[in-house]
């Protein structure tokens, strides 16, 4: 689409940093808090979310010329639900333990505001390929924040990354911070991450 002059670089940098879903828009933090106790859980969740966002944004963008405006939301929800169910079933079939670990949070991707937000804000008015890229990189922006949070929580709380012990933190010299893998730890780490990121990049113009 050279004629439409779409700047992929802007889409990428906006999704990853400039307009990051977690610390700039404060979207989708339910799952950001719930699945970050172990790095492995987070990784699976991130892949699911990034793909769902990208694919549903692309599909909605392809269908945008045939969707009547007043039932738009319903169509979007059903499309997102369609992708989430595919992912949920695949996970149940090939990796039952992980499906049990994540519990209802895979299903809750449907109500994750990032997916709906990107479909509504971008997929609805733009061609298919940029929508896919936009969805993917917003998903990745979310993923990289989540991975940082989960690495901090797993090291401090369990002394390991992906289940592999980390030298200093798994020894007896380090008192494990059990609180980090429990719910309060999630709130504290996310709050500190938001604080750091917002201090590095102060709001140019706060919407609120």
């Amino acid at each position: 689409m050279p004629a439409e002059n779409i700047k992929y670089r802007d889409i990428v940098s906006d999704g990853l940093w400039g307009n990051n879903p977690i610390f700039r828009q404060i979207l989708g933090i339910c799952s950001a808090l719930a699945v970050t106790n172990l790095v492995l859980n987070t990784l699976v969740m991130c892949i699911a979310l990034a793909l769902t966002t990208a694919l549903s944004s692309m599909t909605i963008s392809m269908l945008r010329k045939w969707t009547p405006r007043n039932i738009r939301m319903m169509v979007q929800t059903l499309l997102i639900a369609f992708y989430v169910i595919i992912f949920d079933l695949a996970l149940k079939a090939y990796w039952p333990e992980m499906s049990k670990n994540l519990g209802p949070y895979v299903g809750l991707i449907i109500t994750n505001c990032i997916v709906m937000g990107r479909c509504e804000a971008y997929g609805n008015t733009n061609p298919a390929i940029p929508s896919f890229i936009d969805g993917l990189f917003n998903g990745l922006g979310y993923s990289f924040m989540l991975l940082i949070i989960s690495v901090i929580r797993e090291i401090l709380g369990m002394g390991s990354i992906l289940g592999i012990p980390v030298p200093y933190f798994s020894s007896t010299m380090w008192d494990k911070w059990i609180i980090m893998v429990m719910p309060p730890g999630a709130f504290f780490v996310l709050a500190i991450m938001i604080w750091i990121c917002r201090s590095i990049k102060p709001a140019a113009k706060e919407a609120k």
Partner: protein
């Protein structure tokens, strides 16, 4: 819990959903509206009561639909779509009824109803209900308790935030940052209830 009279199970589940397993503070459901609508006590009470009502009724409807429609047809994997449609339809329907028969209630509660359709607590409670295989009365207790627990958390948070409005908070921490830290402290306090049951 096994040797307790099953009659009491719904009440125990309700109590644990309010205190020991608070839907917001230990399962993080409904965080988005919790962060964005907790700056005033009045708003928080309105949204909270709407959530209690909607969760209690929809979780029962979802249970009935799951047990009597999806299970006989072996379509359990379509529960997500069915639950969403039930919640959205119910919220829309209730909004019309309230608007028609009680304009004063609509004034105070009506604006919050559309927000609830996208509240992940409503869908989350329905999914937990399926995973834990509750019976009807347990589901009722669980739904009511979860809603009440959510309302309690958001009202408490809005009270604290109103007190905080005059204090000086570092720029980067204002708004969502400080809300999350307070929520963390509240979650820490709620861990104290763990031994009760």
């Amino acid at each position: 819990m096994e040797n307790i009279n099953p009659m009491w199970a719904p009440f125990i589940i309700c109590f644990s959903a309010i205190f020991t397993n608070n839907i917001l503070l230990s399962y993080f459901l409904g965080m988005c509206s919790f962060v964005s609508c907790s700056s005033e006590v009045k708003t928080a009470v309105g949204l909270g009561s709407a959530v209690v009502f909607v969760i209690t009724v929809t979780v029962c409807l979802n249970w009935l639909a799951y047990e009597y429609i999806l299970v006989p047809l072996q379509l359990e994997s379509f529960k997500l779509i069915l639950f969403i449609i039930i919640v959205a339809t119910f919220v829309q329907f209730i909004e019309m009824v309230i608007e028609r028969y009680s304009p004063s209630l609509y004034q105070s509660l009506g604006i919050f109803l559309p927000l609830i359709t996208v509240n992940c607590a409503v869908l989350g409670v329905a999914l937990f209900m399926v995973i834990r295989a509750y019976n009807f009365w347990e589901t009722l207790g669980y739904g009511f308790g979860s809603g009440l627990g959510w309302m309690m958390a958001i009202v408490a948070m809005s009270g604290i935030r109103q007190k905080l409005s005059t204090s000086r908070i570092p720029v980067g921490l204002q708004g969502p940052g400080i809300t999350l830290i307070i929520a963390g402290l509240m979650a820490l306090a709620f861990i104290g209830f763990t031994g009760v049951l």
